[in-house]
């Protein structure tokens, strides 16, 4: 009958598959291919040269700047993830109780989620840039602290952490809230009957039951923060020096400023594998946890 006709199914799927092959799979194999060559269109010899298998990859293992950019991305992801998870969990818990103007507060909290990363970068640039933004002035006047992230590497890194928290904590809050609201109520009642206090309930009941949702949040946030480019590009441009040059920005600079096509391709492949491995580990944890639930 209808569903036995696989031909129709493939016909329905084919446009999706064709587009994804064209703009997803073909670029992947192309970058894999280019990664084996030495190729710089601005060099004396602008053609592709084969320098032996894995030539670019061998270079990358000793490429300090590239390795540091990966380490920086990992550090950034772990820092923002930790802060966003703790803050988001706290806020999600607070949204379970009732208090005045709750839906208004929640509505405003959703706002940063829909704003484009590049616009978030602009908002923060206007807000924090020396000579224009109110933040450096407020910090100077009330705390005597000079904020000039164009000069200080640490400040540049942390202002991006703060921007990311501003932008993405709402996502963590709302996702955890959705998870919390869907939890079964029976364990809570029996725990209260046994005289457990709020803290014990949180540690022994809420958090263990929330593990699947927490893993989803970690998975999505980790993926996104390893990818970060737009807002950093807008705010600091990867500087000062290499202070905020995350892997995505580093690849962009190597490829489109220096035109290191071959080396850039090898970087792209390593970066891709690195994120895929992390995702794959988390995904398998997610699936195995999901199976425990059933």
């Amino acid at each position: 009958m209808l569903f036995s006709k696989n031909k129709k199914g493939w016909l329905l799927l084919s446009p999706t598959i064709i587009i994804l092959i064209l703009v997803g799979l073909v670029p992947f194999f192309y970058v894999l291919y280019v990664g084996f060559f030495k190729w710089n269109p601005l060099a004396v010899d602008p053609s592709m040269q084969f320098e032996g298998y894995g030539f670019n990859y061998r270079r990358l293992i000793f490429d300090q700047v590239f390795l540091e950019s990966i380490w920086r991305s990992v550090k950034f992801s772990v820092v923002t993830l930790t802060l966003e998870l703790s803050l988001g969990f706290l806020l999600a818990l607070s949204l379970l109780s009732s208090f005045p103007l709750k839906s208004f507060f929640r509505g405003v909290h959703t706002l940063p989620l829909v704003i484009a990363p590049i616009v978030v970068g602009s908002i923060f640039k206007l807000f924090t840039v020396q000579g224009l933004g109110p933040l450096p002035h407020l910090l100077k006047d009330y705390f005597g602290y000079t904020l000039n992230y164009g000069m200080h590497a640490d400040q540049a890194f942390w202002i991006i952490v703060i921007m990311d928290i501003w932008h993405w904590t709402p996502f963590v809050t709302l996702t955890l809230l959705a998870g919390l609201s869907a939890l079964p109520q029976d364990p809570y009642e029996s725990a209260k009957m046994d005289g457990a206090n709020n803290f014990q309930i949180l540690v022994h009941i809420t958090i263990p039951m929330m593990v699947p949702v927490l893993i989803v949040v970690i998975f999505i946030r980790l993926m996104d923060s390893l990818k970060i480019v737009d807002e950093v590009w807008m705010l600091t441009g990867g500087g000062p020096g290499y202070a905020t040059r995350f892997t995505g920005i580093h690849i962009w600079k190597e490829v489109f400023e220096k035109r290191y096509y071959g080396l850039g391709s090898a970087m792209s492949i390593l970066y891709l594998y690195f994120t895929i491995i992390i995702c794959w580990i988390l995904y398998s944890v997610m699936v195995s946890k999901g199976k425990d639930e059933d």
Binding site: L22, F99, V114, F127, I220
Partner: protein, 284 residues
Amino acid sequence: MKTKKLFAKIGTTFLWSVLTIITLFPIYWMILVSTRTPVELFGKPDLSPTFFEKVHWKNFTKPFIDGIYGEYLLNSIIVATSNAALVTVLALMATYALSRFKLPGSDSIFFWTMTNRMAPPAAFLLPLFLLFSTVFRIGDFTLFDTKIGLILLYCVFNLPFAIWLLKGIIDGIPKELDEAMVVDGANLFTIFRKLIIPLAAPGIAVTSLLSFLFAWNEYLLASTLTSVHARTIPTGLSEFVTTTGTNWGTMAAVALVSMVPALLFLFAVQKHIVAGLTFGAVKG
């Protein structure tokens, strides 16, 4: 016990008030900057609201009417709308196929489409740039710097997302309904028109709105794969970075205008945004 609860309530309200201020303050400042002349922005920041008659409209008219940003805006609207329409139609077809037909390897296909979403776009910049400007060509026509190129490209991250979101919805429509219609002699098109689309309508609406939003907000790929004719509003915004002596008022105005669709959608998709952003893994 009563007073303790009252204190908790006051504390929570206070905490959320502070958070709301932190969220809104930078946005409020951006709106202020967009209403001021360069001279007014000089010196100590003035946080008092600008009155309507004092708004410096030139910040808006200069980029959008005299300048090129009107065209960028139009490009953004065309690209995001077409992409959302294309993605919704294709994802609906693909999801129906994955959900109803027993295709060999359909699980692998599903997983493969998802990996497209997980990949960092920066890793694909170079191959896409080279493919779009040299390899994918028909005569003199290349995909580089065309709206069609962007519309197709945004399918990479929007299609997986849309398929994931719609799969839960279409799996929820009982197969027996389709089968009953087939017995009555309906073809695939009729099934879509009379059964699937009406029943999945809210899900389809959310899918297309969020696809629009992702396409509208995308910056990195658009900035690399366009140069003159197909530039979108986010790429226009980044042009302010390199200009020396940035005109902050104009930049704020452009940022504000590019935020408008996001604000409009906030009201429409607020309830579904969690399901949307977590790929439906957590129901909002």
